[in-house]
């Protein structure tokens, strides 16, 4: 008998959990660590190292170590987020043939989902070692605000890792599931999930074993990484002022400051003041080594990150408005993600909602635990299973005349769901209709993300308007879209496959499965 686990595939860290004898357990490696860095280091001779060992490598060999692959997964190369990230990392970010993102590390070029697959293999092996039995199935969590392409790419990563993905579950929903497990709550809950790279807010109504997501909102490019960047930026400015020279474009210096900023941020969660030091921060052209040292207090840190903190509450406003609730109607606030240990976050959340965030929730493990509970419910017929109704975070629509985006499935619609639209030919003897699918809230298609395009072809050559084709969009419980088109008159089904624009892995054959199985030198538990 094999096990189904829950995996929180995070931007910075990943966690795996399982329900064993009815009790959720977070699994640890041989050293007792549950949090595993989502870092993949590539060495010579095709060796791959994942987790803590890879993280150590990241500092000496940033060019062969891939971090935060989750920020790239399912994105187009020329999106602002990817271009922004490119400037701040040591490994290479390239454009694939089809406009997808590729990463380059140690002369290897991979799609982001291949990097994530390495992390998943690492988590799978950790679980197998801890449970002493094979692990074949998993529920994998993603930020609620992930779009279709990002979800599909995550599913691909699971496939590459040899895991059968039972469900793509939204992180805040997983957290709520873990929070409400066997508690018989009847309340409105907000999940404030600030992770390493993404921010999500979900508003849920929990009624015993019934979990209904009322709304979700988020920013897939706002997380702990950005806080570190903001602090590093300020520290660098101080350093530049001391040196009297500009360090713009000096990537190695930047990376050192980011690391120092992250450490300072963590220390300031408990201390009110920390010493920040970056030894050998910069080697001047004349060969002199310059070190940087300063004292940073919590108030200064808070001031530096305040613009980012405020952005999270703009997202909270939106989520509450869409749920038609006020902050004061919320019974409980769950803080999820390592970033929520930062005092300014706890304080501002408390002010905003007028209540103390729920205690007893392990911000790091709660998502994996929720995923494990769902994995158990989906594989054990005798499990006490809850009903989980999640929603789609962003509207799905198509391009219409004039570049408007016509919404077929509005955001915050419960999944699974479907919607259809009747298309007419616009010209005489038109035998093709091109349909472009977008996700987002903008009125014009340019403001939204293109998910893909398809062509309805072989239509009968008739006068315009006489050919009618009904196109049906189906969103499954994972939030992944499929499209079907049916000729209204002939009753003939057109097979439509929406090619995800951001896939980047290409055809199945292109991907050498064996690379993920037993890479020589891959860290074993």
């Amino acid at each position: 008998m094999s096990r189904a686990v829950g995996i929180d595939l995070g931007t910075c860290n990943s966690v795996v959990a399982v329900v064993k004898n009815g009790v959720p357990v977070v699994l640890a490696d041989a050293e007792g660590r549950t949090l595993q860095p989502s870092v993949v280091a590539f060495g010579y001779a095709n060796t791959v190292v994942v987790g803590h060992r890879a993280r150590r490598q990241a500092l000496h060999a940033p060019e062969s170590t891939v971090t935060s692959a989750k920020r790239l997964i399912g994105r187009r190369y020329n999106s602002p987020e990817v271009l922004r990230m490119k400037a701040g990392v040591g490994f290479g970010i390239l454009e694939g043939d089809d406009g997808s993102v590729k990463v380059r590390a140690q002369a290897r070029i991979l799609a982001p989902q291949e990097v994530s697959a390495h992390v998943l293999v690492h988590m799978k092996r950790l679980a197998e070692a801890a449970l002493n039995e094979p692990v074949t199935h998993a529920v994998i969590t993603v930020p609620a605000y992930f779009n279709d392409a990002q979800r599909q790419a995550t599913r691909e990563a699971a496939q590459l890792a040899g895991l059968s993905c039972l469900r793509i579950l939204n992180e805040p929903t997983a957290a709520a599931l873990a929070y409400g497990f066997r508690k018989n709550h009847k309340q409105y809950v907000v999940v404030y999930d600030l992770g390493g790279g993404t921010f999500d807010v979900s508003v849920l109504r929990i009624d015993g074993d019934f979990y209904e997501v009322l709304s979700t909102a988020g920013d897939t490019f706002l997380g702990g990484d950005d806080f570190d960047d903001a602090v590093a930026e300020q520290l660098l400015k101080q350093f530049e002022a001391q040196l009297g020279t500009s360090l713009a474009g000096q990537r190695a210096v930047r990376l050192k400051f980011r690391d120092a900023a992250e450490q300072a941020k963590i220390a300031l969660s408990t201390a009110t003041q920390v010493e920040v030091s970056v030894p050998a921060a910069w080697r001047a052209p004349d060969g002199t080594e310059h070190a940087f040292a300063t004292t940073l207090d919590r108030a200064t840190f808070t001031a530096w990150v305040m613009p980012l903190v405020q952005r999270t509450f703009a997202v909270c406003d939106e989520a509450l408005r869409n749920a038609r609730l006020h902050a004061r109607q919320i019974d409980h606030v769950l803080l999820v993600g390592g970033m929520t240990r930062v005092p300014v976050i706890r304080e501002t959340v408390q002010q905003y909602f007028g209540r103390v965030p729920a205690e007893g929730v392990d911000a790091d493990a709660v998502v994996a635990v929720g995923a494990a509970i769902q994995a158990h419910a989906l594989t054990d017929a005798h499990a006490e299973s809850s009903v989980l109704l999640d929603v789609t975070p962003q509207s799905l629509g198509i391009r219409t005349m004039g570049g408007f985006c016509e919404v077929l499935i509005p955001r915050n619609t419960a999944v699974p769901t479907d919607a259809s639209k009747l298309f007419h030919t616009a010209f005489d003897e038109q035998t093709e209709v091109r349909v472009a699918v977008y996700q987002g809230e903008g009125r014009m298609v340019e403001e939204n993300t293109l998910l893909g395009e398809f062509v309805l072809s072989d239509l009968p050559a008739l006068p315009r308007g006489q050919v009618r084709v009904r196109v049906t969009f189906s969103l499954d419980a994972d939030g992944i879209l499929s499209v079907e088109a049916r000729d209204d008159r002939a009753g003939r089904a057109h097979s439509v496959r929406i090619e995800s624009c951001a896939s980047g892995v290409g055809s199945r054959e292109e991907v050498d499965r064996s690379r993920f199985e037993d890479t020589p030198g891959q860290e074993l538990m």
Binding site: F210, A377, D380, A381, V407, A414, L422, A477
Partner: protein, 183 residues
Amino acid sequence: MDPRLRERIEVETLHEVLSEIDCYALLGLPADAPQDAVEGAFRAVSRRLHPDRLSVGASPEFKIQANAVFRAIGEAHRTLRDPETRAAYDAERKAGAVRLAEESRRAVAAEAQVRADPSRAAKTPRADAFWRRGLQAFHAGDAASAVMQIGFAIQLEPDNAVFQDYLARARQAVAERKAAPKA
């Protein structure tokens, strides 16, 4: 013994006649049910028939059926929980429809959206440009300019009721200003 055999049989039976069962019957509600009964009915039926609860160890065919049934239940919920879509559905149901037509659902949603945000009222990009400027002028208190811009928008979309409404209000504002004694 399958702990959820009864529910599975219920799903299979429902699936066979799904296209004939209306939204009220799917949620187990009478057609004159009060609005606040909808949520509870939806929760009760979801607890019993949600595919996640019934699909463990089931055949692929059953999973497809259970999903189809639950999509229909979800659609019934979306139709009935909102008084406006419910009213649109009731009208179509009287004419013999089993479900609310997708086009009607979108029309109701679009109306609600325009009510919440009149800046989305234009249906064509050219009218949209004039409309946005007209609306801006209207809110800035520049009624004369609003009359002109909205007038242009109406030439492009003569049937747009929101345009007509705002044009009337802008014209009235101009008239009131003329009537007011100059200070």
